[in-house]
Amino acid sequence: MTERGRGEIITEWLIESVIRLCGISAIVFVFGIFFFVFREGGSVLFQDFKFGEFFFSTSWYPSSPSNVRYGVLALIVGTFSVTALAMVIAVPFGIGAAIFVSEFCGHKLRETLKIVIEILAAIPSVVWGFIGLTVLNPLIIRLFDAPIGLNVLNGGIILALMSVPIIVSIGEDALKAVPDSYREAGLALGATRWQLVYRVLLPAAKNGLLAAALLGVARAVGETMAVLMATGHAINIPGSLLDPVRTLTATIAAELGEAPVHSAHYRVLFVIGILLFLITTAVNLTADLVIRGIRRK
């Protein structure tokens, strides 16, 4: 009896610690990555790092034979221009699709749509990049008489298509979370379906929808392979949607392999990594706080 009891206690303890370990591991990994990125890039920050040049110069010449310069302004502008365009396209589409899926369509259509959206989310980013390179590029040249089809517009459309699934699924959850009593009350007051959506559901689900959009932004900022292929990878402050750009992520992907380990170039690429980390953390944290905002209500 006692023997068996002890066995059970040990098993219990073992399983409990394994589960606890799994839970903690996520935190460990995040801090591990944080620590690693800072260790690789951090040292350059404290040795006469030219912050002014880094943030305000567009000259990115990491392998210049005579005058090495590390200015990432053009890359920051590139990342933000592509992300902004992607959100201008993806947020209305994504929220609209979320409203349709959650409020307007029948059960069967809803299940089908959800599966299709999940498939959309599962397409690898390199395939999206390939579509940008081979389908959108000639299309943009032909439609807009643009000199080049690999540009902000191309990257923005591709990123929009990639972030729509996230916006739809989180947006739909937010709309679902609105209690049915709100809908019943609205209908009882004689509101049409459109009025119900516009006056009742959207205000009620406001925070969740905002969080959906922010997570879409985080997805777009962090995306690498697709934008590397679709934006033209040219260091350039875009004057219009038809100009090619280069993003922060694509620069790291393209150049980290060449940079000798622990060289200045290598460390500056890690500083770009820190910058990206801070941007996505800020966006995710905001989204998280916004979602918490709904719960507290």
């Binding site: 567009t58 010449y61 008489d145 643009a146 590397l228 040219a234 260091i235 392999g257 000798p260």
Partner: protein
Amino acid sequence: MWAGKALAMAALLCCALGCGGDSSQMAHKKKTIQNAGSDTLVNVAQAWAEDYALVEPEVSVEVSGGGSGTGLAALTAGTVDIANSSRHATQAEIERARQNTGKEPVEFTVGYDALAIFVHPSNPMEEITIAQIAEIYAEHGKATHWAQLGVRLPGKRGDKIIRVSRQSNSGTYHFFREAILGKTADFRLGSLDLHGSKDVVELIARTPNAIGYSGMGYATHEVKMLRVATKPGEKAIIPCVESTMNGSYPIARPLLMYTLGEPAAHVRAYLQWIYSATGQAILAKSGYVPAPKEQHPQWNADAKETP
């Protein structure tokens, strides 16, 4: 590279397991040669590796690209046996190899490549001077529109020049910079920096306003190769085998392979085979120019004498 390594490990493991008891076969363990670097050379290196597998089934050659800089970085770290490069190793890279491994990189010229200047077939331009190319690509160059070079593009897309270039670890990029812009000059930013020789040609084929550079082996019928003149008024030369061999084409370069110190026996045998008539024929078939006899390594001639 990782995939190649994993494959090699798997192959070794299979061999060890498959013939565990038989000691006579254990001695014939399959040897691998890790080969990485230049994208210019990657197609030829792949073709060599495939044909060599038929000649010498005991040795398998694992080829990967990534750019000359990537290959040389792997060599200086001691993770590949042969680095392919379309530029000479820099002093810093040689120094790093010495520090990391205590060995000196040894250079082998396995052939030559002419860098062709490509434009879209609809572009009426036929020839270009080195100075014009520099105006287009250099940091303080002034040519941004085709009209400035006296070229009228058909169609209504405007005549902005779309500069296509390469990522900065490409040997082609470094060679082009040295040959066209000079040792200390920089490229003008804003060019489309693509990740492979083939990508450059494919993008130009789809972009009427584009100009770009790539090894002449990558030419297709969808793009136009320009004749290049060293100075205005001089005769413009089309890149081809003869003009590369006789030195009249101005943008030609050696194709190199590097080993760490004197190569091991099986690596050396592979290099000997590359210099053989068969190996050089494969190189020629890919659109490159074979290395002249007097540039073959000394031990290659010695080996020829012994059957």
